[in-house]
């Protein structure tokens, strides 16, 4: 009886942590960078990140910050 409950709890914790990490990765643009690499078919590198920042700068600069 205890074992399945423990497994469910562990699964819930794992899923919650994964979701939290995913939220943080999205807020901090890490997912966006991963999508950029996947689209371009390139590995992560100094040059790839520089290109990503250059491409994203246009969007980021125009994004309003709220009050």
């Amino acid at each position: 009886m205890l074992k399945p409950t423990l497994i469910t709890m562990l699964e819930t914790t794992r899923n919650t942590t994964a979701l939290l990490v995913c939220i943080l990765r999205e807020i901090f643009d890490e997912n966006s960078y991963a999508r950029f690499l996947a689209r371009a078919g390139r590995p992560s590198s100094t040059e790839a990140y520089a290109d990503f920042v250059h491409q994203e700068a246009h969007l980021r600069e125009r994004r309003p910050r709220c009050c």
Binding site: I23, E30, V53, A57, H58, C66
Partner: protein, 678 residues
């Protein structure tokens, strides 16, 4: 859960909420626990989300899980990306949560805790949450179009133009107002100034780390930046006690010019060098601190010492002048309803939503979270002794410049405070003085430090917690300042590019320098005027920001009501029309008073008249500032009145059958994503 149990649970929540409201409203002669406010808030949010937002979703907006969203139809892996609803929720909340819901409620606490709490709860569940939700859904149904574009298409070109002018004006006034908060928090504070100054090299180091050492590892760099900022708080204490303290102790005017130079540099430098790393660091600190503050309130269960209502509801308040209606509602601003949110709801967020049904949790839910941040700010302000609260927040022009005069004036109002109490508190938090630290940030920092120190470290850590709170506020205010300057610069370049093309080129350096200088000069003017104002500046600038922000909310609600009427939902138009009516009453009344009230502490023109006749140094400049503020307020109100009139004309034409309603929605395309139950 069966139906009977569900009814029982919701009835219990309703009773619990009612009991909490009764306690906070009726217990007048003794302090109450902050947990009553938290309980009232949580019960209100739960019921509002479960019942009201469901009604809006199912009856008014008819959310359709089978309709493909722009994120699905236009998925390009860049700005249009179908994203998990909780991820979009986090993204949206991080974008809408700024300094407004922290500062506004702290200033409005001069009326007591009751008006602020009631307006934050009622205003958000019936106004702010509805606005954010409805605008998000309407933008999703229009390929993620902006509020300005929707206003132009659904009302008239005039609506779009006014929305554009309102946005740029709000950005400028907002930047001036929040810059003033930073100046007031840091003047004469070597500890705070050192910590904030240290965030600039830390951000540059993060930029270098992200670019050269570990490309793209933003969370890692932010964590590293956070640790360095913590070290700089500790270093600030050492600096404040060392002979170098004078290097970091500045007057308001010096800090004002330092901010202007910083804003210009941040706008003109490459984005990766300073702006992006600061933005990441600030978001990291913001999300962490808000979560820890919520935990701190739950663990320490602080007692509110501020009465439910103070005598200042009559408009004679020292923090800012003006009666409870409309000024408490204008001052709280973003904690209840914010027009600025409609820019986010029609900006990046609609391009990420993967199902229409998710707009409910993202639009309505994230605003509930923002409103809860405002509730925490009320608690932080009201846990302070009222005498201390008024000593910190009242300008010298009202209470007197010396410690003895200020404490005598404040004690005569019935809020006992002594010079010794204030100097002990200042020593405990490592400041030279806590008198006349207007703007809301120092009072909020004191309240937050009070809550944190009751949880960890006791009074021994009060100083560290206070400066942590100052750093937290100043960090993300400065982030709003640099990013806002940049957004304003782009908007100006867009506009000027129509007159002379090269000015619109965002990569042409002369244009970058010119437009950055224009935007910085505009908000720098408000900041400078606020610093020079003998009544504390924030008195005039913050209500001006509140009015401008809520005028934008009026535009958003006009667009929403127009779309509802055009789509045949006339019987439900009260959902947006009632908040619109309330906002028009509040904002237009506030604007009338700010321009024409004969009391010089309220009316810009009366103050200009009084100061022009006085012998105060720089009287003519101060009078000019007042007249300019009056002109800006009157112009904004006139423009928004035109939008309301134009919208009412469209409503009348559609409802009377004189005009065939035409919506500009994108066509229905069935979603390929698995449908989800609402």
């Amino acid at each position: 859960m069966n139906r009977l149990l569900r009814i029982l649970v919701w009835t219990l929540i309703a009773f619990l909420g009612a009991a909490a409201f009764a306690t906070i409203a009726l217990r007048r002669s003794e302090p109450i626990s902050a947990l009553w406010i938290v309980t009232a808030a949580v019960c209100t949010y739960s019921i509002a989300y479960r019942f009201y937002s469901r009604f809006v979703a199912m009856r008014v907006l008819l959310l359709d899980p089978n309709r493909a969203t722009p994120a699905e139809r236009l998925d390009n892996g860049r700005d249009f990306v179908p994203t998990n609803k909780w991820v979009v929720f986090g993204h949206h909340f991080a974008a809408i949560a700024g300094p407004g819901p922290l500062v506004g409620p702290v200033l409005a606490a001069q009326f007591g805790y009751l008006p602020g709490v009631l307006w934050i709860l009622v205003g958000s569940v019936f106004g702010g949450c509805v606005q954010d939700f409805v605008v998000l859904l309407f933008s999703v149904r229009r390929d993620g179009k902006s509020l300005t574009e929707m206003a132009r298409e659904e009302i008239s070109p005039l609506g779009g133009t006014v929305a554009f002018i309102a946005v740029i004006t709000i950005i400028i006034i907002l930047l001036g107002a929040i810059g003033l908060i930073v100046v007031n928090a840091l003047k004469g504070s070597p500890w705070g100034t050192f910590t904030i100054a240290a965030t600039i090299p830390i951000a540059l180091l993060m930029g270098f780390y992200l670019r050269r050492i570990r490309p793209g590892k933003v969370i890692e760099a932010s964590l590293m930046g956070f640790i360095l900022v913590m070290l700089s708080i500790w270093g600030g204490q050492w600096i404040s006690l060392s002979p170098y303290a004078s290097w970091f102790s500045f007057s308001g005017i010096t800090l004002c010019f330092a901010l202007i130079v910083y804003g210009f540099a941040a706008s003109a430098l490459p984005v990766w060098l300073l702006l992006a790393p600061r933005d990441y660091l600030s978001t990291f600190v913001k999300l962490g601190t808000i979560s820890v503050l919520a935990l701190g309130i739950l663990i320490s269960r602080p007692t509110l010492h501020m009465p439910a209502l103070t005598q200042f509801i009559d408009g004679t308040g020292p923090v800012f002048a003006g009666s409870i209606f409309p000024f408490a509602l204008i001052t709280i601003a973003c904690g209840a309803i914010s027009g600025f949110h409609s820019l986010i709801s029609s900006g990046t967020t609609p391009k990420l939503v993967q199902r229409e049904t998710e707009t409910r949790i993202i639009g309505y839910g994230a605003m509930i979270a923002e409103s809860f941040v405002a509730i925490m700010a009320v608690i932080a302000a009201c846990v302070l002794d009222p005498g201390v609260y008024f000593a910190v927040n009242s300008p010298a022009g009202i209470v007197g410049a010396s410690a003895a005069a200020a404490t005598h004036t404040i004690s005569s109002w019935g809020f006992a405070v002594s010079p010794a109490q204030m100097s002990d508190l200042a020593r405990a938090v490592g400041e030279q003085s806590l008198f006349n630290r207007t703007g809301g940030a120092p009072a909020f920092a004191l309240g937050m430090a009070h809550i944190f120190s009751r949880t960890i470290g006791g009074t021994a850590l009060l100083g560290i917690w206070y400066h942590f709170a100052i750093m937290f506020e100043a960090l993300f205010i400065l982030t709003t300042l640099d990013a806002g300057t940049r957004v304003g610069r782009f908007m100006l370049q867009d506009g000027l590019g129509r007159i002379w093309k090269p000015l619109g080129r965002t990569s042409w350096y002369p244009s970058i320098l010119f437009t950055s200088a224009v935007i910085v000069s505009l908000w720098g003017y408000f900041l400078y005027a606020g610093v020079r104002d003998p009544l504390g500046g924030i008195n005039s600038v913050w209500p001006l920001f509140g009015i401008a922000n809520q005028l934008l909310a009026i535009v958003a609600l006009c667009v929403s009501t127009t779309i509802l009427i055009k789509s045949g939902k006339t019987r439900y138009m009260a959902v947006t029309l009632v908040p619109l009516f309330v906002l028009v009453s509040i904002t237009f009344t506030a604007a009338y008073h700010k321009v024409l009230n004969p009391n010089p502490r309220i009316g810009f023109l009366a103050h200009a008249h009084q100061i022009a006749a006085s012998t105060v140094a720089g009287a003519s400049r101060l009078a000019f500032n007042d007249r300019l503020d009056a002109l800006i307020t009157a112009t904004l109100v006139a423009l928004v009145f035109l939008v309301v009139a134009e919208s009412a004309r469209v409503w009348f034409q559609v409802l009377s059958g004189r005009r065939q309603p035409s919506l500009h929605e994108s066509p229905f395309i069935p979603s390929q994503l698995a449908s989800e139950e609402m």
